[in-house]
């Protein structure tokens, strides 16, 4: 039973402390934070800005390291990996989607989506095929030859999603992916993410302010409340013990 449960866990943050040194001040962003996300979950992470949502995504994706605590993805501890190993691991396991698409302006949609495949063993023909497939998945196959500046905001975000999924990572991390989009386009993107979650089994963690995210996500975490509740639980646990 225990074993079975462990297999299903995709992401585990254990006793995370994260603080920044700002001049002589220490800014504590996370204090003894714990979170567990199962495989196949689509988690919407909500809450006011400055609470540390992006920091959590960066920790999960290995872009940032905790001050203390452990980050375990797929039963592998990643916060102790070397810089080089971490980037290889990231290339294989994580797809990022940001609020701004961060597509390279000089590359076509196709070129942008092919980029992560440079980190794989695929040859150039295979890279083309994989990228085309990813573009088809997000409904952008007809715009493959277009440069980012020739696309609308929603289309750019679709290409960015194609880039995130092209090397078939198990986990997709989205930081306010619909923050720059109008309602209709935002709905399209959220639907696309839902599809990736439901039909392709991707575990998705999405930071968002979008109140309608709950209609798409399988679990909504209100970070402020979540932190508050877990503090209470810890306190009562301490009281029970003493």
């Amino acid at each position: 039973m225990q074993n079975n449960n462990q297999k299903k866990v995709a992401i585990e943050l254990i006793n995370i402390n994260k603080s920044y040194q700002k001049g002589s001040n220490k800014v504590v962003v996370h204090d003894n934070f714990n979170l567990s996300i199962a495989k196949g979950e689509f988690v919407a992470l909500m809450g006011p800005s400055g609470l540390g949502k992006s920091t959590l995504l960066n920790l999960i994706g290995g872009l940032d390291l905790p001050t203390s605590g452990s980050v375990i993805i797929d039963n592998q501890r990643i916060d102790t990996l070397s810089e080089g190993k971490l980037s290889t691991w990231r290339a294989e396991n994580i797809g990022f989607v940001f609020q701004s698409h961060h597509l390279l302006p000089v590359l076509t949609a196709q070129g942008n989506v092919e980029l992560p495949l440079l980190l794989t063993a695929l040859n150039s023909k295979q890279r083309k095929q994989h990228a085309s497939l990813a573009l088809r998945l997000v409904g952008m196959e007809e715009r493959a030859k277009h440069l980012p500046k020739e696309l609308s905001g929603g289309q750019e975000q679709r290409v960015a999603i194609a880039r995130a999924i092209v090397s078939d990572p198990k986990i997709i991390l989205c930081d306010e992916p619909t923050g720059n989009l109008d309602r209709k386009t935002a709905d399209e993107i959220l639907t696309l993410l839902t599809t990736l979650n439901k039909y392709f089994g991707k575990t998705i963690v999405m930071v968002t302010h979008d109140l309608r995210a709950s209609e798409y996500a399988s679990r909504v975490i209100n970070l402020e409340k979540y932190i508050h509740d877990s503090k209470q639980n810890q306190l009562s646990a301490v009281e029970v013990n003493s």
């Binding site: 992006s54 290889t88 290339a91 994580i94 940001f98 302006p105 000089v106 992560p116 980190l119």
Partner: protein, 407 residues
């Protein structure tokens, strides 16, 4: 081991991929990079000019002088100009058993006189021009010591009258001087009887005339300045030198002609390098700082892009190399921009310099060899790489999370 190679290959592939993308976006940044491109171009141009100039000079001077020939001057004289010798001395030298004799049983000796002369000539408009030139008085025996000497036009001067022949380098520089024209030397009119060539040696920058005429026109009595001697093959030069140094009637400086011109070439190249290379070095430092600045600016403006690459999974090393690649590209463009115009404009150009010793002009060609151009290009590339290292390291350690913030 295989794994290590595979991993290295993967890194190379990453770096190449990023480099290709850099290449695509480079034209957009070319304007921003133009300051460093131009400064590297200037450095390349200066360095190549210095190299080509010295190379051309060395080539010219190296062609001058025969292997079996001794040049003899007054002891202590650095150049022919400062030397004075008397006919009695010449006789002692010429009668030595080790000196070669010609078919008429006469010693193969060339007595020469060297004057730093002012030449006046008229241009087509009838205006008078003054040029400082080397005027050499030569004797019949002199031609033996100039195996490459050829009349390019006209005929040799006649002895006993005021006739000169002029070196081809001068004729090229001053088109007014042709066979049959008249020039003024030492206040008297001289007739140009011909133009000679000498395999591009330094002599092509001289005027030659009868030594007797020059001795009288320039009030030198019967003194001469230098003597050239052809030696028998088996001559022990050290012994000969000792014999003449010990002779109380002689007070002379003896050296191989080749050596003499080689040491002059050395002096001249040293002079040019002492002036040229410090200038080039300071400019190179400037260019390096410019490249450094450009690359820092590039990284600042592309920090989001670099961070995105990292988020995708590109390694810091690959990113570092892609920045170095860009610095290299800037240096390459700059280097070529400095070198190619020189190549198209200056190759084969004649430059002139004041000879440090005899203060007359020496004309020589720029020698733009492929080797020198490669040397310059390599130097330019090193400037770029040196300027790119710090920015590349900075890019490698760029904090991704900060760069990716949207606000």
């Amino acid at each position: 081991m295989v794994q290590l190679i595979n991993r290295s290959l993967a890194k190379v592939k990453q770096a190449m991929g990023l480099a290709t993308i850099n290449l695509k976006s480079f034209p957009h940044r070319a304007i921003a990079s133009s300051v460093s491109i131009l400064s590297i171009a200037c450095v390349a141009a200066v360095i190549l000019s210095v190299l080509a100039m010295t190379q051309g000079m060395v080539k010219t001077l190296e062609k001058t002088g025969l292997d079996d020939t001794l040049i003899v001057m007054r002891a202590g004289a650095i150049s022919e100009l400062q030397s004075v010798m008397f006919p009695a001395e010449v006789n002692i030298l010429a009668n030595h058993a080790q000196v070669l004799k010609n078919n008429d049983n006469q010693a193969m000796v060339s007595a020469e006189m060297f004057v730093n002369a002012q030449m006046l000539y008229l241009d087509k408009a009838g205006e008078t021009h003054i040029e400082k030139l080397a005027l050499r008085g030569i004797s019949k025996g002199t031609y033996r010591f100039r195996p490459h000497f050829k009349m390019a036009a006209g005929v040799k001067f006649k002895t006993g009258i005021r006739q000169v022949i002029i070196g081809q380098a001068i004729a090229r520089k001053i088109p007014e001087l042709t066979v049959g024209s008249t020039i003024t030397l030492g206040g008297a009119q001289w007739f140009v009887s011909g133009i000679f060539s000498d395999n591009n040696s330094v002599f092509e920058s001289e005027l030659w005339a009868d030594i007797g005429m020059i001795q009288s026109d320039y009030q030198r009595g019967n003194t001469i300045q230098s003597v050239r001697l052809a030696l028998k093959k088996n001559t022990d030069i050290t012994a000969l030198n000792k014999e003449w140094q010990d002779d109380p009637r002689l007070n002379l400086r003896i050296m191989y002609e080749k050596q003499f011109f080689a040491s002059q070439a050395e002096d001249l190249t040293r002079l040019i390098r002492w002036v040229g290379f410090p200038v080039a070095f300071i400019m190179a430092l400037g260019a390096m700082v410019a490249a450094l600045n450009t690359m820092y600016a590039t990284i600042a403006s592309r920090s989001k892009e670099i961070a995105t690459h990292k988020a995708i999974g590109f390694s810091g090393v690959a990113i570092c190399f892609s920045i170095l690649f860009e610095a290299l590209l800037i240096a390459l463009v700059g280097g070529l921009l400095g070198i190619l115009p020189l190549y198209f404009i200056f190759d084969g150009w004649t430059a002139s310099t004041q000879d440090a010793n005899n203060l007359s002009q020496m004309l020589f060609n720029f020698e733009l060899t492929v080797g020198l151009m490669m040397q310059t290009l390599l130097f330019s590339i090193s400037i770029g790489l040196l300027g790119g290292i710090l920015p590349a390291i900075k890019a490698m350690s760029l904090p991704v999370t900060v760069a990716l913030r949207d606000n």
